[in-house]
C-alpha cells in the first residue's frame, strides 16, 4: 500500500494528516468504560426533540443499545 501523510497504518485516508490528534489510533486496551456485567450508569440527557430522557426510566425494563458516536455535524 502506498503510504503518505494522509494514509494511516490501517489503510484509511482522510483529509487531515495522520499526525493530527483527531486521527490518532488508541493503543490496544484503550478505555471502553463500564465493564460487561456492570449496570450501565444512570444518566439523563436532552434528545433531538428537546425532551429530557432518563435512560433507564425511558427504556422501561426493555433491553437497550446505547451507542456513543463522534458527531452528526462533521
Amino acid at each position: 500500500m502506498s503510504q503518505d501523510e494522509y494514509t494511516d497504518e490501517f489503510g484509511f485516508v482522510a483529509p487531515l494528516k495522520t499526525t493530527s490528534n483527531q486521527r490518532r489510533i488508541p493503543d490496544e486496551g484503550f478505555p471502553t468504560g463500564p465493564a460487561i456485567g456492570e449496570r450501565l450508569p444512570d444518566f439523563t440527557l436532552v434528545d433531538q426533540r428537546g425532551r429530557s430522557v432518563d435512560l433507564h426510566a425511558d427504556r422501561a425494563d426493555a433491553k437497550a443499545a446505547v451507542v456513543f458516536f463522534r458527531s452528526a455535524v462533521w
Binding site: G11, A14, P15, P41, V46, D47, Q48
Partner: protein, 305 residues
C-alpha cells in the same frame, strides 16, 4: 453518519428483538434535530454538550487535546448492549476510529443467534448431508468505509453428523475457513462457537465437535482502497473468495475431507459524509443537513467569550 443511517435502517430489527436504541454525542440538540430531519432518524439522539456523560463513562478520547477545537469532547466510539435489568451484556468498541460494529451484530448479540437477512449476498455449497451457505451479514452486506461486516459460513448438518473444531487427532481434519478479497479488504480471524466434547471411550480420545447449525464468523471491512472519503468509488462491487475445509462424520463412519470454494459478491457503496467543504465534493454521499452552520456553532462553543 453512516453508522446512524444504518442503525435507522435496522430499527425494525431492534424493535423486533425488543431493544430500545439510543445514540449519544456531544452535538447540540438543534444539530441532532437537523440531522434527524435530514436522515429520517426516529430513535433517540441524546445531546451531551459538555461531554459530562462521555467523561463519566471514562470513554473521552484523550488523544485529542483541549486545544483541538472542535474535536475535543468526543468519545472513543462504541456501543453498549444492556439487558432488561440494565446490566451491560456486551460492548462493541473497535480500536480504529473508522470501524463500527454493524447494527445487525448488536441485534444478534441480544438474540444469541445470527439472523440472515433476505437482502444479504450469499453463495451456497455442500450437499444434502452438509449444506453450506456463505453470506455477508450486516448493512445488507454492503462495504463502505469502515463498518465491520461478518462473512458468515453456516453449516447445516444432517441429524447424526458432526464436524470438528481444533484440536483434532492426527489424520482428521478440523474445520477451517479462509477468505480472500480485493486489496483494501481486511479479513480478521474467524470466530467459532463453543464445541461439544465427543468421547471415543474405546480409544481414550475426546473430540471437539459441532452439530446441527454451525455459524463461523469472519469479520471483514473495507479500507480506503475500496471506499475512500476523498474520492468516488472506483469499483462498485467486491468478490470474496471463501475456502471452506471440513470433514463430516457420524458415530460410525467419516466422510472424506472436503474443500469447497464459494464466491460472494457484495456491493461497494459511497460513505455518508457531512455537508462540509472539506468532504462534500469527493463523490461520496453527502447529507442534506446544513452542516457548516452547525459546525460553526460547535466551534464557537469552545471559543472564549
Amino acid at each position: 453518519m453512516t453508522q446512524l443511517g444504518e442503525l435507522q435502517d435496522a430499527l425494525p430489527k431492534f424493535r423486533a428483538a425488543g431493544i430500545k436504541l439510543y445514540a449519544v454525542s456531544y452535538d447540540a440538540p438543534e444539530a441532532l434535530a437537523a440531522f434527524a430531519e435530514a436522515r429520517g432518524i426516529e430513535f433517540s439522539l441524546l445531546s451531551d454538550t459538555d461531554s459530562a456523560v462521555i467523561r463519566s463513562f471514562g470513554i473521552l478520547n484523550t488523544l485529542i487535546q483541549p486545544e483541538d477545537i472542535p474535536f475535543h469532547g468526543i468519545p472513543y466510539p462504541g456501543t453498549y448492549l444492556v439487558d432488561e435489568a440494565g446490566v451491560i451484556r456486551e460492548k462493541f468498541f473497535p480500536r480504529h476510529l473508522a470501524n463500527r460494529a454493524s447494527a445487525e451484530t448488536v441485534v444478534d448479540s441480544a438474540l444469541g443467534k445470527i439472523l440472515m437477512g433476505d437482502d444479504e449476498p450469499r453463495a451456497s455449497g455442500g450437499d444434502d448431508a452438509v449444506r453450506i451457505t456463505a453470506f455477508v451479514h450486516g448493512g445488507g452486506g454492503v462495504l463502505k468505509s469502515g463498518p465491520v461486516r461478518q462473512l458468515v459460513v453456516r453449516f447445516e448438518l444432517r441429524e447424526g453428523l458432526h464436524i470438528y473444531g481444533e484440536p483434532v487427532p492426527d489424520g482428521m481434519v478440523a474445520t477451517s475457513i479462509s477468505v480472500r478479497g480485493p486489496d483494501g479488504l481486511h479479513v480478521e480471524s474467524p470466530v467459532v462457537p463453543a464445541t461439544q466434547p465427543l468421547v471415543l471411550s474405546g480409544l481414550g480420545v475426546t473430540l471437539h465437535v459441532w452439530s446441527g447449525t454451525v455459524d463461523i464468523v469472519v469479520p471483514v471491512w473495507a479500507d480506503s482502497r475500496l471506499v475512500c472519503v476523498t474520492r468516488p468509488v472506483d469499483v462498485p462491487s467486491a468478490t470474496l473468495e471463501v475456502t471452506v475445509r471440513y470433514q463430516a462424520c457420524d458415530e460410525a463412519t467419516c466422510m472424506v475431507p472436503r474443500t469447497e470454494r464459494l464466491q460472494v459478491t457484495v456491493p461497494v457503496e459511497p460513505h455518508d459524509v457531512p455537508n462540509i467543504d472539506l468532504l462534500a465534493k469527493n463523490g461520496q454521499k453527502v447529507t442534506s443537513m446544513d452542516s457548516m452552520t452547525h459546525l460553526d456553532k460547535l466551534v464557537r462553543r469552545f471559543l472564549p467569550g
